[in-house]
């Protein structure tokens, strides 16, 4: 047994070496890149690890170092992650983050997809709202004080989670043979796409309060959420429409000929194929939408980036902004890369032959 493992290991190693130096071109390229790495890597490692300050997480630890001041990120992690949320109540946004991230990870496996999962999500969103906002036994925390990762997560999950099905409906409506429905959908999509997200957010946060009486006005967080949701649905609907157009007419006819209704035809035959076709474009749009949530900072909501900025304002520290933004970058990277891996798996799954 171990001989087999050894043989396959040798094979892998030899294969790798052969690819590195197997041809004159590869040999030269390997040399060049090895040289570049030798020059670039040591300073990076010094800055990130060997010359960096970690503990104790106090301002003084960063005074006499040439590397990264990670002790700031360690000391301020709670403020970066949760913004200006009241200190004593920070266990609440923490639970929200754990809940949403946990459920996202759970939802990745196709075997978890069921009606029950939809109920889980409904429950998770309602309890997130309650945990963040309070009431019913918890101290009320106005949405002005919400901030950081839970804001980013809630905005992302709601805007995309509701934007996707709405996008499907809009795409179907735009292709409808009924002129009124098609016109309305087209009008909404074109208007939304014609405006920059920033101006939609400004309309939601600044113009709406001028037009609506106070008692009819939803709070600022909710308005930004709706703006992001509408924006996401318009963009997603056009991507999905592209997929619908790629489906041959014969698929519609075959579905109709066996007697499927419009809803059944779309749910069972057309959409599964159409969405598979546009997975790369959908991934693109959704990743852009995840990052778009950071724009809510212009209307005074504290997303992850604004919270990081606020933490940097502490005069006791020497504003290690690179370290802070790297930490935030890492979180965005995990969100976006995680999603793109998920999309990749969906694509493989659709391509795989049936067992």
């Amino acid at each position: 047994m171990s001989a087999i493992i050894q043989a396959s290991l040798t094979h892998t190693v030899f294969g790798f070496v052969r690819r590195l130096v197997g041809s004159p071109l590869n040999f030269v390229l390997t040399l060049i890149f090895a040289g570049l790495l030798a020059v670039a890597l040591p300073p990076v490692i010094r800055w990130v690890i060997t010359d960096a300050a970690f503990f104790p997480a106090v301002p003084e630890s960063c005074k006499a170092i040439s590397g990264a001041c990670w002790s700031f990120v360690i000391a301020k992690h709670s403020q970066i992650l949760f913004g200006i949320y009241p200190n004593d109540e920070r266990w609440r946004p923490l639970i929200v983050c754990v809940l949403l991230i946990g459920l996202l990870v759970y939802s990745v496996r196709p075997s978890a997809w069921s009606k029950r999962l939809a109920w889980f999500w409904g429950g998770a969103l309602i309890s997130s709202w309650w945990l963040m906002g309070g009431g019913f036994g918890l101290t009320v925390v106005e949405s002005d004080l919400w901030g950081g990762l839970p804001v980013t997560l809630i905005l992302t999950v709601v805007a995309i989670g509701f934007g996707f099905p709405t996008g499907i409906l809009l795409a179907l409506a735009r292709r409808s043979k009924l002129p009124v429905i098609s016109l309305l959908a087209t009008l909404f999509i074109e208007m939304t796409r014609a405006l920059p997200l920033l101006s939609i957010l400004f309309i939601a946060s600044i113009m709406l309060p001028l037009m609506l009486p106070e008692e009819l006005l939803p709070d600022k967080f909710f308005r930004a959420l709706i703006a992001l949701y509408l924006f996401a649905s318009a963009y997603l609907s056009e991507v999905i429409r592209g997929g619908l157009q790629a489906i041959p007419k014969g698929q519609f006819e075959a579905g109709e000929a066996v007697g499927l209704s419009f809803a059944q035809l779309n749910a069972k035959i057309i959409l599964p194929q159409a969405i598979t076709v546009v997975i790369p474009a959908l991934t693109n749009t959704i990743i852009v939408m995840i990052k778009n949530t950071s724009l809510v900072l212009v209307v005074g909501l504290f997303d992850l980036i604004s919270s990081g900025k606020a933490a940097l304002a502490d005069p006791a520290w020497s504003s290690p902004s690179v370290e802070t933004y790297l930490f935030i970058t890492l979180i965005y990277f995990l969100l976006c890369f995680g999603f793109s891996r998920f999309a990749d798996r969906m694509e493989q799954r659709a391509k795989a032959p049936a067992k």
Binding site: E253, E256, V258, G259, L260
Partner: protein, 249 residues
Amino acid sequence: MNGDNSAPAVSLSNVEKHFGNFQALRSVNLDVARGERIVICGPSGSGKSTLIRCINQLEQHEAGEIRVNGREVGSEPAQLEAIRREVGMVFQSFNLFPHLTILENCTLAPIWVKKLPKADAEAKAMALLERVRIPDQAHKRPGQLSGGQQQRVAIARALCMEPSIMLFDEPTSALDPEMVKEVLDVMLGLAEDGMTMLVVTHEMGFARQAADRVIFMDQGEILESAPPDQFFANPQHERTKTFLGQILH
């Protein structure tokens, strides 16, 4: 369920259809008795496909009347539902659902349209896949099958809805020559079992062997309608003779 039992399976009277300025059907009249096998042939663009596609309303006729088992055919949702339960269709390009397995292709409509329990639908589908001689492919996807196999699955899929009438729109035209026979054999089997069939095809061998009547269409009109012996031996119309001369070398 079958409406009037004494009515013809399919009856068209004065049916008209345009595509823009092009007249695809000109005042077409046709009665098909229950259990009758009709082969429709004619040059391309003559309206043969349009004719059968009007019967299950994949195309809407503009004038005239179509009845299936005595019930009028139209584009109202209730009419559509009724008609598509009665009429199965097989397409030139198979049109199997590529994202579903062969078995799922066959059980989808029975489960969702007829609300059959899944186990029953699968048992029925397996019996029909047995009949078209591909039960061992049930768990593959359409893309893994040959054209002939796919078309046999398409026939099984249509039969799973237990239609009383089957429409075939050039079922062998997209097949490699060596696969034509396996599909025609399945169709012959169906014909022997007394299924009402309307088949658009240029397979004159099938027409001779299975058809009760052969219909020749040109420019949206039915020019000739006769039992195969008479149709091939003694065509009445000049255009029929020309057409037969072209396809029977």
